[in-house]
Amino acid sequence: MKNTLRTLVSPRGAVFLLLAILLVAIIILNPAFAEPGQFMRFLQRVAPVAIIAIGQYFVIVAGEFDLSQGSLITAQVVIAGNLVGQDDSRTIPVMLLMFVFGAVIGLINGLITTLLKVPSFIVTLGMMLALLGGILWWTGGAATGNPADSFRNIGRGGLRDVPLLDFVPWSVLVLAGWLALAIWITKRPLGKQMIAVGDNPVAARFAGVRTWWVTTQSFIISSLSATVAGILLVGYAGVHPSVGRGYEFIAITAVVLGGVVLGGGRGWVVAAVAGAFVLEALFLLLNIAGVPSTLRNSVQGVIIIAAVAYAGVSFRARRARPRAAASPQASPDPGKEPEPPVAPAQSDSHVLRGEGSNANQGG
């Protein structure tokens, strides 16, 4: 019991605590949201955001940024609208094409970052502009129209009349699958290598990790996540050149809210997804609370900063304790802490020190 409580107050649990507070506040203000049907619709809305947060998690944990996610979503949405049209038979081929396109964008981002040593912030910013410009050139700024309903059904439809749950959107199943895949990757050597590269690329290289390929793969995962999110958004929102705008920053915020350290080396993918849930729950809360439209962004911003600050403060405070007990040099096993933040790759003292300074940046 005490342990659970401590987990919730810990940085790793802070995001779940915040989510719980938000959901309780929402249900108090409007009990209708406790109905399963409404809750499932909430999950449907979170799914695209949560999926790009998963993609961004891998890039950030490997020490990089991906600012091209939002514009890639826009590009994929427009591709779907223009290439599928009203022809149901094109749904599958176009979807395959979108995945290939997404993977290629990720590969380009990754290779320019790793082989040409251009900071990923600049590479992906350039990619963002290139994609947005390309969309404007191709479409003249206006979408031709929505694609066939069979395509849109993925993001819009679902299983109806399910016992207990009422309505299960396909996007919720897609999110569950994508999250399971992500957790599996974090347990694989690849996931552990990404954390190692993000924490200390030199040490990782000496340990025999092909750092360029590991980083590049994180970009590919990010771009594929944006592709999946794009497919869902075609259904949820429809084809429009503004779909996806600003999603890269929503994803980065979600990841940071989930306690993942900017600069890499520490983080938990499930918490990043919880961060995405928090952001959407906050939006929902402001909607049902009737906060005046002019005040809304400020309230949202202040709550996000407070939440991240809280995670940072409590994290530093927690780090201070084992350090007081034994000097970092002499304490090679941080695993004795109650909840080790993502255990692998952190079992040497170099990592531990790197982590401490990162935490300061993050807070």
Partner: protein, 403 residues
């Protein structure tokens, strides 16, 4: 000890914020009832201007003067000015300082303007048009105008201002060159230009839409206002006019800023529908209207009474669903008028000092006609673009070839 203190402080701050957020809800909840009991509450909107409102209210019913089949040359209550001082033979160079082409409405107009240019080049009135796109930046547009003044070698300045106050000095500098200056779309705070071309305006939009919703709804019904962004006068006036009328009629109105993002629009409407019934949707621009309608479909709710815009996506969805709708128009054909005005000025013909173009919404009876006329146009096209008699129609607009 210090640790728990810090954690405690942060936690307290966070909870405090929620309390704060909770408090802010109270005024939001009570506001509609207050304004319902006080009909004048709508006028507390800082963008509301009774004089301009009254002027636009009257202009809506005036039969415009000018050629009957060329709506882009018609004008309302015009005071004509003599331009014989500018009369001069030969093809002239036009310099166009454009605010941006960052939304489908401006893109459509820009395509039309370029086709109009081809006609005037053919007839020998205009030699070339040099265009600078300020990409929504005041600073860039000021620099663009100064470049035209100093190095552009321009015969006439066409200016579509990015913002009203910031662009005024630059427009005055252009006037000081003694060459004709034509301002269109958004205005400036000077009358040094030869002519200022614009549709009736934002209040007229607000009045047309609010009256339609009020006629089709009853007292106590709820309207959700979907607005693109705050702070732009032509958009703010649309809401200021509508909000006033809703308050007077006892219609509950809430507004949201959406950035025209359909995902956001859909989420907002879904949340409003989960809270309670919504009978009306009001939009300050039709971009993203389809997502709002689909939110009703997905929630299994009855279609709302709705005002969108003459964008094809809304007109098509309106037809497909059969909802009770109105498409207000911010006359896109105004993009043809500036170049035509330039040609008139060089011929020494009279032009209106303030060239108010007609601005008539598309109603249910006219819907089929506009859908047929614009068949094959993309979703982001505007039905009243007014370019049917220009070269390249309809392919240029269908393929949306932006120069």
């Amino acid at each position: 000890m210090r640790r728990s203190l810090k954690v405690g402080t942060a936690a307290a701050a966070l909870i405090g914020l929620f309390v704060l957020a909770g408090c802010t809800t109270d005024p939001g909840v009570t506001a509609p009832s207050e304004s319902a009991s006080d009909p004048g509450a709508g006028s507390t909107n800082e963008w509301f201007d009774q004089k301009v409102y009254d002027k636009q209210f009257a202009e809506r019913t005036v039969v415009p003067a000018g050629p009957e089949d060329e709506v882009y040359l018609q004008h309302i209550n015009a005071e004509m000015v003599d331009t014989s001082a500018y009369a001069s033979a030969g093809a002239k160079k036009a310099c166009f300082a454009n605010a941006s082409i960052s939304n489908p409405w401006r893109q459509t107009g820009w395509i039309t303007m370029n086709q109009q240019l081809k006609v005037l080049q053919e007839s020998g009135a205009i030699s070339t048009m040099e265009t600078r796109d300020a990409q929504d930046s005041d600073d860039t547009q000021i620099a663009d105008i100064d470049y035209f003044i100093n190095e552009g070698n321009c015969d006439v300045f066409l200016i579509s201002p990015n913002s009203t106050a910031a662009m005024t000095p630059a427009v005055e500098r252009a006037c000081a060159t003694d060459k004709p200056v034509i301002v269109f779309d958004r205005g400036v705070e000077t009358d040094c230009q030869v002519t200022f071309i614009h549709p009736i305006g934002g209040f007229a939009w607000g009045i047309d839409t609010a009256e339609f919703l009020i006629d089709n709804l009853k007292k106590g019904d709820k309207v959700v206002g979907l607005r693109i962004l705050p702070g732009v006068d032509v958009l703010e006036q649309r809401w200021a006019g509508a909000e006033k009328l809703f308050a007077e009629a006892g219609i509950e109105a809430v507004d949201y800023f959406t950035g025209a993002d359909p995902a956001k629009i859909k989420s907002i409407i879904s949340d409003e529908l989960a809270k309670g019934d919504v009978q009306g949707i009001w939009m300050d621009a039709g971009d993203g209207a389809v997502a709002a309608i689909e939110a009703f479909e997905d929630a299994g709710a009855d279609y709302p009474v709705m005002t969108g815009e003459d964008e094809m996506s809304f007109l098509r969805k309106w037809k497909a669903t059969g909802l009770t709708g109105l498409a207000p128009v911010y006359s896109n054909f105004q993009w043809r008028t500036p170049l035509l005005a330039a040609a008139m000025i060089f011929k020494g013909e009279e032009v209106p000092k303030e060239w108010v173009l007609p601005q008539n919404p598309i109603n249910a009876e006219e819907l089929d006609r506009y859908l047929t006329e614009n068949e094959g146009m993309p979703d982001g096209h505007y039905a009243k673009f007014g370019g049917e008699n220009l070269p390249g129609y309809p392919e240029v607009w269908q393929k949306r070839l932006i120069p």
